[in-house]
C-alpha cells in the first residue's frame, strides 16, 4: 500500500490540494459535533459578506449509528473532510473533480455523477441545494450551495464540500470492511489499520451511547447549555446599534453542546416522537440567535 492511498495519506493529499486553492487549513473543532458543518468555520463563517476559504478534518459523532464495531460500514464516530468556499468559485465542480483525481480516482475509469440531494439541517436552521457525488454508484461526497444558515439568507452563497473519508478510503483501497482500512501505509509490524485505532472505541462508545450514558445528567446538561447560550448572548449583546456583539462564539459552543447532548438522549431512546421535534426546535432557536449575534461581529461583517 502506498503512503498516498492510506487513510492518513488521503487526508494529507486533500489538505495539500485545498491549501493550494487558497484555503486556510484548520484543525478539527475541539467539541463533539454531528458533522463538519457544525464547526464554527462553516456555520458562522457562512454568514455575512466576508469572503472565506477553509478546509479541515472534523471527527463527527452520530451516537445512534453505533453498531458495537460489528457493522462493516456504520460508525458512531467517523471523519469528514470539509471544504467551504465563500463565495463559491464558478468552477467549484471542476475543483472537486480535480481533488478526486489528486487522491487517485482516475476520471477516465470511474463514473462520477452528481445526483440531486437537497441538504437541510433542521437543528441549524440551514438548507442548500446540491448533489450527492457518486463514484461508480457509491456516494463519496456531498456538494451543497448554502442558501440559508441559522435562519439567515447566505449573501453571498458558500459552496460546501463534505468528503466521507472512510468511504472514500475504502473505495480507493478496495476494502470491504472499514476496520480493515490501512491507516498509515506502513509495512509489516508498523502497519496500522483503522480497526487498530478505532475498533475498541466503537465498542465502548456503542455501550455508552445505547446503555450507559447518564440520561438525568444529559437532560440537565441540555438545559444548562441552553441557559448558558442565552446568558452569554445577553452578556455579549451590543449596548447600542453601532456596537458589536462580543460573545457570539462562546454562545455558539453551547448551542453545539446542546445539539450533541440531544443526539445522545435520542440514542438512549428517552425522547418521544413528539418531544423530539420540540428539542430540535430549541436547538434551532439557539443556532438562530447565535447566527444573529455573529452577524453583529467584525468577522460577521458588522
Amino acid at each position: 500500500m502506498s503512503q498516498k492511498k492510506s487513510f492518513q495519506g488521503l487526508i494529507l493529499t486533500l489538505q495539500e490540494f485545498w491549501a493550494a486553492q487558497g484555503c486556510v487549513i484548520l484543525q478539527p473543532y475541539d467539541m463533539e459535533v454531528g458533522a463538519g458543518t457544525f464547526h464554527p468555520a462553516t456555520t458562522l463563517r457562512a454568514l455575512g459578506p466576508k469572503p472565506w476559504k477553509a478546509a479541515y478534518v472534523q471527527p463527527s459523532r452520530r451516537p445512534k449509528d453505533g453498531r458495537y464495531g460489528e457493522n462493516p460500514n456504520r460508525l458512531q464516530h467517523y471523519y469528514q473532510f470539509q471544504v467551504i468556499l465563500k463565495p463559491n468559485p464558478p468552477n467549484l465542480q471542476e475543483l472537486y473533480l480535480a481533488s478526486l483525481d489528486a487522491i487517485g480516482v482516475d476520471l477516465k475509469l470511474h463514473d462520477i455523477r452528481f445526483v440531486e440531494d437537497d441538504w437541510e439541517s433542521p437543528t441549524l436552521g440551514a438548507w442548500g441545494l446540491g448533489w450527492e457525488c457518486w463514484c461508480d454508484g457509491m456516494e463519496v461526497s456531498q456538494f451543497t450551495y448554502f442558501q440559508q444558515v441559522a435562519g439567515f439568507e447566505c449573501a453571498p452563497v458558500a459552496g460546501e464540500l463534505t468528503y466521507g473519508l472512510e468511504r472514500l478510503a475504502m473505495y480507493v483501497q478496495g476494502v470491504e470492511n472499514v476496520y480493515d482500512l490501512d491507516f498509515n501505509g506502513a509495512e509489516g509490524a508498523d502497519r496500522i489499520t483503522y480497526g487498530d485505532v478505532f475498533l475498541q472505541a466503537e465498542q465502548e462508545y456503542s455501550r455508552h451511547n445505547f446503555e450507559a450514558a447518564d440520561t438525568a445528567m444529559l437532560f440537565r446538561q441540555f438545559t444548562d447549555a441552553e441557559a448558558a447560550c442565552r446568558s452569554y448572548l445577553d452578556a455579549g449583546a451590543p449596548a447600542a446599534e453601532t456596537e458589536r456583539h462580543r460573545m457570539a462564539q462562546p454562545a455558539y459552543d453551547q448551542c453545539i453542546k446542546a445539539s450533541h447532548v440531544f443526539n445522545l438522549l435520542d440514542a438512549r431512546g428517552v425522547i418521544s416522537v413528539t418531544e423530539r421535534q420540540s428539542y430540535i426546535l430549541r436547538v434551532r432557536e439557539l443556532a438562530k440567535a447565535c447566527g444573529a449575534a455573529w452577524l453583529r461581529t467584525a468577522a460577521g461583517g458588522a
Binding site: 477516465k108 470511474h110 462520477i112 441545494l129 461508480d136
Partner: protein, 727 residues
Amino acid sequence: MPDLLLELRSEEIPARMQRRAAEDLKKLVTDALVERGFLYEGAKAFSTPRRLALHIAGLPARGEAVREERRGPRVGAPEAAIQGFLKGAGLASLDEAQRITDPKKGEFYLAVIERPGRETLDVLAELLPEIIKSFPWPKAMRWGAASAQPGALRWVRPLQSIVATFGPETETPEVVPFAVGGITAGTVTYGHRFLAPGPIEVRRFDDYIQALERAKVILDADRRKDVILHDARDLAFARGLDLVEDEGLLEEVAGLVEWPVVLMGSFDAAFLDIPAEAIRATIRANQKCFVLRKSVSEELAPAFILVSNLVASDGGQAITAGNERVVRARLSDAKFFWETDKAIRLEDRLPKLDAIVFHEKLGTQGERIARIAALAQELAPLVGADPALAERAARLAKADLVTEMVGEFPELQGLMGRKYAALQGEHPSVCAAIEEHYKPVGPSDRVPSDPVSIAVALADKLDTLVGFWAIDEKPTGSKDPYALRRAALGVVRYVLDGLRLNLTSNFDPHFELVDKAIVATQIANAPPGAHAFAHGIGRVDWGGRLVNLKSLDLLAFFADRLKVYLRDQGARHDLVDAVFALPGQDDLLLIVSRVGALQKFLETEDGKNLLAGVKRASNILRIEEKKDGRAYDAAPDSALAASGEPAERALAEALAGAAATASQAIASEDFAGAMRALSTLRAPVDAFFQDVTVNAPDPKLRENRLLLLNALRAATRAVADFSKIEG
C-alpha cells in the same frame, strides 16, 4: 423562415425536473411570441442533465406592421378632451390628425397610428431574459459572488452559459443580443463533462445537435431512453436473461447521463433468498439499476443492469466492479433486515404500533388497528368471510409497518407483511388479506376476491373515512391529504363487485367507536385540569330510522364518488341524484341496479312520456299547493273518481293497480318489473291530461283530481324522485 436556437447550460439538473422544465421553456417562449403576434411553424424542447434546449422553426424575421385607427372627439370639443385624445394616440398636435364627417354626428378627429413590425431578434432579446429570470423551477437557488446582491438570478443549479441564435438556414444566424445574471448569450457550448469537455461553436439547431452528438451528448431524452432500453435488453438477452422493465426508473436514469453506456454487473446468488421485490426495491431506489430475471421465468437472476455516463478506457470494468461492491453492501443490509424481521412474529410487533401516533386527534396506530379488527369481524359475515380469520388478518395487517424492511422501503408495505405471515404459518387468506387490504390503489388496480381480504379492506377504508369525518378533516377542492376520495372510491368498487351493505348501519356504530377514541386522545393529550368534551352526535330520522348526521354527510360523499364512477361508466348522474333523493337509500348495489333500470325505462317511449306526465303533475301540484297553502297528500277518493270523467276513472284504477304491482316488485328488488308496472300508467296519464280539467269549478272534484296527481307522483317515487331527473 428563420429559426431560434436556445440552450441554457447549467450544473446538473435533478433528473425528475428535466422533462417538465423543457416543456415549460417551450411553452413560455412560444406563448410570449404568439402573444406579441409572432407565429411559428414548429417548436421542440430538449433536456439533458446539464442543459435545456429549445428549437423554434419558421419564425418571421420581423413582426407584421400594425395600422390602427382611433376615433377622437368632435371638432370643437373642449380642450381637455382634445388633449386627452392627442396624448392617447401619441400625436404632437391636431395637424397630425385627420378629420372625418359623420352624417349624423358631424365632424370628428381621427388618428391613424402606424407601427412598423418589430425585428424578431429585438423581441427575443427582450423576452428571453424575462423568461429566464422568472423560470418556474420547483426549487431554485443563488450562487457565486453575484448572490451577495439582492435580486440575484435564481436557477435550479448554477447557470453556466447561454446559446441563443436566430436566423435563416442559408445565412449565418445572429446572436440574440441579451445578458442575464452576468451571462451573455453567445454561440459557444460544451460537450460531455468527461468525454469531450472542450468548447463547441454552434450556429443553428441542425449543426448544434450534431456537434453535441460528436461531443458525446445525446440531446433528446427519449433517444437516450431508447439507447438504454435496447442496449439493456441486448445485454440481458446475450446472457439468457430478461430485463425487468421499469419506465419510471428508465426516465430517471435517462436524466442522469448525457451519453448512456449500459453495463451488466452481478451479485452473489445467495442473496436471492431475499424476496424479489425487496431486491428490486434496494437496487432500484439506492443504486438506480435495473434487475433481471431468468428467461421466461418470474425468478430474479443474480445480475443487474447499470447505466454509466462514461466510455471508460478499461471497457467499464472498474465501474462495474464499483457498482457491484455497492450493490453487495446494499443487499447485505437487505438480507440483514429480512433475517432480523423473520425473527420477530408479527403479533409481537403490535406493542410498537401502540406508541406510534396515527393522527393527533385520532390516537395511535394500535388503537386504529383494534377498531379495524372489530369492524372487519362485524363485516365478515356480510361478505362471506370467517369472522375469526378477518379479525386475525386485521390485527396483523399493519404490523409490517414497523419491520426493518418496510422502514427502509415503504413501498413494500403489505407485501412484506404477507411474506412474514406466510413464514409464521398464518392461514393463506390471512396472508393474502395483509397484502391485499390496501387495494385497489388506483383505477386500473384490481379488487381482491378473497372474502377475508374484502372484509379487512373495507374495514380499513371505512375506519379511515369515519375517522376523518368525525374530526371534520374532509377533502376540499384539490386538497385530499389523507386520500379519502380514493378510500371511498375503493369501497364503491368493492360494493359494486356484488356486496350488499347498508352503509349507514355500518357507519353509525363506528362513529361511536371513533368518538370514544377521540375523547380518549383528548384526555390523554390534555394538560392537567383541563376538561375533555365529548363529541356530540346529532341524530335525525331518515327513512324511518334514527341516523347519525355525520353518517349522512359521509353517505353524501359516497354518493358523489358513486356519481363520478357511474359517469365514467356512461350512466347519467341526474338519475343517481334521483335515486339518492329517496330517504333510506344507502345500499349502493341496489342504488346502481335501480339507476340502471331507470335509465333503460327512460329510454323507452312510455318512460319518456310518463316522465313528462309526472313532471307536469308535480308542477301543477306545486303551484296549487302554494296557492292553497296546503299539501295534497291524502289518498284520492276512489268512489268520487269512479263517478267522474272516464279518463279520471281510468287513471284512478290504473294507479291503484300499478302502485301495488310496483311496490311489490320493489320489495323483491325487481326494478325492471316496477318500471314495467309504471309504464302501464302512460296511456291513462296522457288521457287524463287531455280530457280532464284539474281545476274543476267543484272544489270537491278539484281536490280529488289533485290527490290523483299526487298518487301518481307517489307511485313513481317508489323508484326515484322524478323531479330530479333532467329533461
